[in-house]
Symmetry: none
Subunit: 419 residues, 2 copies
């Protein structure tokens, strides 16, 4: 009945289809991955459908499934996770929007159901990157009726807006007109609760312009011949789902060692520890050993770590086989460090969150390979880690949603269902 620790290492978009210039091999098959092969050879292998057979998974829906939260039931869009990813504290029921800092010309008025008197001249405010924290501070925490409006800057011109209060709906249209030369669209709601949210959003947009138009950051930008970020334009409304925290669901402490805001947001949303990892850039140049060290550090006082390694996905989206091979080899390096430094008896799974084939340049619904190792597995005959090498392994074909059950079973930390 000994408990062990567990690690899932996910190569983002790692799986692929045969590539002609690799003689019909996939990048993972073509890559030199001795450490991942060691996991496969010493453990149980198979295929995984991140969501379900043939289903094209996003990274967010796939990570939710892999962490044991059924995306068909809980996923309401990327908004809440992106907001959590930039450090906002999100609660179930919050209404979340993505925003742009934009440039408005004219004197904005809200007349009945319409914005008038001004038009959006640059949706990205000259790709404003500096001063957004100061700008956002003037609007964050605004209270309109019985609703509090939280806003936070993200990278460049991007930001998030979160409404918290009673009786709010999320069927709210975009204020962002999506075209320049037009006034902002006044938001409308499809039902009573959404109409309330729309009313709050419109008032927030008007007041954000009033607060930002003469802000010193914008005065300085205008003086320097740059477009001011003088208005926030929300879009993509979504209600934050009520998700049981990871520790409550599994009775173990979990951490996410990840590189992208979206996946960090999922971790934070589930109250998992999400450490800052210096050197983890989310790019091809990332320091994979920094991620590996962070995994080991987290294992000191956590039972479980999920790691997402972003680089393979980039090679897939860019349709660059050599970049994807290099990324697979970096991931192998990461796995090698972890294998050497983990506490004895730790169970490891290596897999992908979806395929991003070179030939397609976007996510597909193909299966991804999975290998698990540790003292409690029953090693099978598979000897290397690859899309086709794992076929015939003991895992056969499981779903992402099954994986936490598989892991907590191996780790000896799962409650028995029944007597």
């Amino acid at each position: 009945m000994k408990r062990t620790k567990g690690v899932i290492i996910i190569g983002d978009g790692l799986a692929d289809r045969p590539v002609a210039e690799l003689d019909g091999r996939t990048p993972l098959e073509a890559a030199d991955t001795p450490n991942m092969d060691r996991v496969a050879a010493s453990g149980e292998c198979g295929q995984m459908d991140p969501i379900g057979p043939g289903v094209r998974a996003g990274s967010d829906t796939s990570h939710l499934a892999i962490l044991g939260y059924d995306p068909f039931k809980v996923y309401t869009g990327r908004g809440p996770f992106e907001a959590a990813g930039i450090g906002m504290e999100i609660r179930g029921g919050d209404i979340c929007f993505r925003c742009n800092f934009s440039t408005l010309e004219g004197e904005l008025k809200l007349e009945g159901d319409h914005f008038t008197g001004a038009k959006v001249t640059d949706r990205r405010a000259g790709r404003i990157a500096e001063g957004t924290r100061e700008l956002i501070a003037t609007v964050n925490g605004m209270v309109i009726e019985d609703v509090t409006c939280y806003a936070k800057e993200s990278v460049e011109h991007r930001a998030a807006l979160v409404l918290r209060g009673p009786g709010l709906g999320s069927k709210v249209s975009d204020v962002d007109p999506h075209d320049e030369g037009k006034p902002p669209h006044a938001a409308t709601g499809e039902d009573d609760e959404s109409r309330k949210a729309a009313r709050i959003v419109n008032e927030f947009v008007l007041r954000s312009w009033q607060a930002l138009k003469d802000h010193p950051v914008n005065q300085a930008r205008i003086a320097a011949g740059k477009h001011p970020g003088n208005i926030l334009l929300p879009r993509g409304a979504g209600v934050a789902p009520h998700l049981e925290p990871f520790e409550k669901r599994y009775g173990i402490k979990g951490a996410c060692v990840v590189e992208t805001g979206l996946i960090a947001g999922i971790g934070r949303y589930l109250n998992m520890t999400v450490p800052e990892v210096k050197g983890a850039t989310g790019g091809a140049d990332t320091d994979e050993l920094a991620l590996a060290r962070a995994i080991i550090e987290m294992l000191a006082d956590h039972d479980f770590v999920l790691c997402n390694f972003k680089a393979p996905d980039l090679g897939g989206h860019d349709s660059k086989p050599q970049a994807k091979i290099a990324a697979a080899q970096k991931m192998d390096n990461l796995v090698g460090y972890v294998l050497e430094h983990i506490p004895a008896g730790t169970h490891i799974a290596i897999t992908a969150d979806h395929s991003t084939p070179i030939s397609f340049g976007d996510h597909t619904g193909d299966t991804v390979p999975i290998a698990t190792c540790g003292p409690n597995v029953r090693p099978d005959s598979v000897r290397s880690f690859g899309e086709r090498a794992v076929v015939g392994g003991a895992i056969c074909r499981i779903r992402g949603f099954d994986l936490m059950k598989v892991m907590t079973n191996l780790m000896g930390v799962q409650e028995k269902f029944g007597a």
Copy 2:
């Protein structure tokens, strides 16, 4: 991001169990099927549970599942699909019945809850085959209360009745007494809405007798010593399910190249194109190349074609191994023509809708083999197409309900779920 076309070719009842007189091989294993072997050798193979492991599928429930409509949620009986299959336009909520033209002797009366004064002397009206169209014309479109009654002839003595109107239920007992020498059973309903439908049906039956008893077609039959088709006896009430049309669900245009009314009805029900195929008899003598040519013709302006080839099922139901081997070889001929003539890059799946084992003479819930090929698959080590040859292939074991996700993923036409 290239889109491709897709074809699923289904051998009806093709899968089987070991047959002693074939030295323990199945008919498919014993058959010479070089073209289906070519699909298997160049693609991904595995097993499929048409509905679920061990579930004995009908052809209708299986085709619904394979087209991505969960039969456990939407199936209400074969009635609505048979009605659609004979060319009736069915809407969700319609109450559908199968009917027989029967022969009634006496003077029918509806007294309270019972039919009296007459009895059914021939449930099939001498297997009447001619004149049914003229007979049905006299009752089709009858309006009773606020309900319209649509009736249409099928083959021989068979017909369909459809009630359309507000507040109708489908828990309605059969009017057909199922035995000769008895009066028709007055229909009863289990709830208020079904009681309304029962009242309408009983009135329809009475009026159909009044309209048919002296019809010239029947007068001529009586003069010729034949049993008249002087009453319609409904049975098997079912409500037509609300099914999202195929094109709306998948965003692609689909066609069904099929031989039987039931499967044609499913295709029509989903607003798919269902061409008439000259030479497709649904029997052992069918022109399989006519079906193959129809697939190619449909691909000219459709993205997807499902083909059902009926002959293997007949060999199974008749427990004739050689007939089933011959049918499998005809199917192979069909597949060969398709392979030679399809647009380059088309993805193909070959499979069965259920097993109809020689030894059982009816459908069983065994797995069926499946093979997929096309540019986006990852070829595995399977080299031929058969119940056992596909074991160990990359597909492992999927459900019929998964297949359209698998196909639309390979075809590059599926929306991504998530970010």
